[in-house]
């Protein structure tokens, strides 16, 4: 017997079809979602939102927190068949590659944190990027992107685009005249990162948004380095915000995930690419991500507290040549950061005397930070661009983009600042010969 209940978003109904009617008789309007149930926001603060938005207690047992819906498929009824026929299958549960309650819960939380109508989680940040970019680009289309893109995105634009008949012009993200000059009649998108890696340039997103709107192109921003709490990227006029959720959003270095958030219209255009490219997120990973997100606001405060204290310490150290942290007054984008960022993050990049050899000795001498790539975890992570993220560059190519020898990329976790400072102090003392240190 068919279950008459709506298994999905019960606010989403089929458009009424009127015999003899025309298109203007269609009555279904776009709405935010999809949502598991009506769930008014219990508050507006980032912590309250992080804890409560999207989290749905089990309606049958009263168990607190969203259950893990570890199912690949769902029992179908007429309502679900109808959703396929009428093209709103995103609002019903059919198959977990299309949607799953665990995905919906964490999507609702992410959308609330970003101030978005809708969000989709993906199996990685790159799955989110690929699906979003290809949803918003057509045959022959062109994108203007920053010249210091994350390597995975660079590879998508550099290796895959020509095969797909698409092209990309990469420009300095500080040079707004060059960005505007690069826009062609077939340009459909500006693609930038809110904060770049490893030099932590803070991009003036409102200015990019003004250009995008005036030139009729979409603006997509990867805000992995500036999660909500630090910045609500969409508030600055961005069309779609993307994150690698493996970083700050999840915060515990224990899963790979991605998210795209924005207006329902655009996220609904991305959804078919989730289906076609297959980058869906497993329900258990959704549960972990949802749980991680509940502490986003307190984690971000702790990241900032420890990172700022450590950055100030490093800046005062005679062996450290330069320190990049957006909330240090010495940072080239300090004013932009003060204007756009409501909270700092854990990323600190610095350069030490003695080049990459000294930097290698430093990461070995440290006890607390793990020598690992990635960022945004509760534990501090440290790596060197010369043998990881920019390993394919020559020394000159690295220098051209500002990555001089001795560059260290640090993601400060939520450990106590005093412990981190003590660890860096002992490591920096250990790696330089004592005689020289006496002169310092």
């Amino acid at each position: 017997m068919t279950n008459p209940k709506i298994l999905g978003d019960d606010a989403s109904l089929p458009p009424a079809s009127t015999k003899g009617g025309w298109l203007n008789d269609l009555n279904r309007a776009r709405a935010a979602g999809p949502f598991l149930a009506a769930h008014p926001a219990p508050g507006t603060g980032p912590s309250t939102t992080a804890v409560h938005a999207g989290t749905h207690d089990d309606p049958r047992t009263g168990a607190v927190g969203t259950p893990i819906y570890q199912a690949s498929t769902f029992v179908l009824n007429d309502g679900q068949y109808r959703s396929v026929e009428d093209g709103f299958a995103r609002d019903r549960f059919i198959y977990s590659r299309y949607g799953n309650p665990s995905q919906w819960a964490v999507q609702e939380k992410l959308a609330a944190l970003e101030g978005a109508e809708s969000a989709i989680v993906f199996s990685s940040g790159m799955a989110a990027i690929t699906s979003t970019v290809l949803a918003l680009m057509d045959k022959g289309a062109h994108v203007v992107a920053s010249s210091d893109l994350y390597g995975g995105t660079f590879n998508l634009f550099n290796q895959e685009f020509p095969t797909l008949g698409m092209s990309c012009t990469m420009v300095d993200s500080y040079d707004f005249d060059a960005i505007e000059a690069a826009i062609q009649p077939n340009t459909q998108m500006l693609y930038f990162e809110a904060i770049t890696n490893p030099l932590l340039k803070v991009i003036d997103i409102p200015r990019l948004a003004e250009i995008a709107k005036r030139r009729n192109v979409r603006l997509v921003v990867d805000a992995t380095f500036a999660p909500p709490v630090a910045m609500r990227t969409l508030d600055h006029g961005v069309d779609v915000v993307i994150h690698s959720a493996s970083k700050y959003l999840n915060g515990h270095s224990d899963l790979i995930a991605g998210v795209a958030a924005g207006p329902r219209k655009l996220i609904d255009m991305i959804w078919p690419r989730l289906l076609n490219y297959g980058g869906s997120l497993d329900p258990h990973a959704c549960f972990l991500l949802e749980r991680g997100l509940k502490t986003l606001a307190v984690r971000m405060r702790a990241h900032e507290e420890s990172a700022l204290a450590l950055a100030e310490y490093l800046e005062s150290h005679p062996r450290v040549q330069k320190v990049f942290y957006p909330f240090l007054p010495s940072h080239p984008d300090y004013d932009t950061a003060s204007r756009l960022l409501k909270n700092g993050t854990g990323n600190v990049t610095f350069f030490i005397e003695g080049g990459d050899a000294a930097a290698l000795r430093l990461v070995d001498a440290l006890n607390i930070p793990k020598q690992a790539t990635s960022l945004g975890g509760v534990e501090s992570l440290i790596s060197l661009p010369f043998n990881t993220s920019q390993a394919t560059f020559t020394a000159k190519q690295r220098a051209d983009v500002g990555i001089d020898p001795g560059c260290v990329r640090l993601s400060v976790g939520i450990e106590d600042a005093a412990d981190l400072i003590a660890d860096f102090k002992q490591a920096l003392t250990a790696i330089y010969p004592a005689k020289e240190a006496a002169h310092a």
Partner: protein
Amino acid sequence: MRNAIPTAALSEFVNEVAAAPEEAIMDYGLEVKWQSGTRAISETKPMKVGPHQVSRSFSWTSDEPRQLMGNNHGPNPQELLLSGLGSCMMVSFIAGATAEGIQLESVRIDFDATLDLRGFMGLGTNSTVGFPEIRYQIHVTGDATAEEFAELHRKSVAHSPNAQTILNPVHLNGDIISTRIEN
């Protein structure tokens, strides 16, 4: 999905446009370049869907049959006109059927039209330069009655931009930018 059109998205777009009319404004462009003899290449220019720029990377060749001094390398302009008319009527018909909940199985529009080239040639006769009449038949199978299909036919022509462009006077405003080559 009925007729491979997401009715929900169609409905959402209609309702979006009702609130934000700028999203309904489509800016098109096309460039026709003479290639050789009667053969020309048409290339679509990027268009704007509402305020959003969209790449349109398409091109095709038009030509006349050999009997009309061409090489028969592509459809001729009259066939392309009928194609533009018919494919627009098709979109209108399919969208209208979908909005009504009609499931279509097949649709084919069969066009015929006769032109008297004496008008083109300037031979003094009473013949019109263009088509005096375009005849077509829509062959359709689907889950509607003959009356419902007849009504859908009427409405789809009434709402087809290209059919209405052909049926109504349209301003054709052109300039010529010329360069004289000295021999």
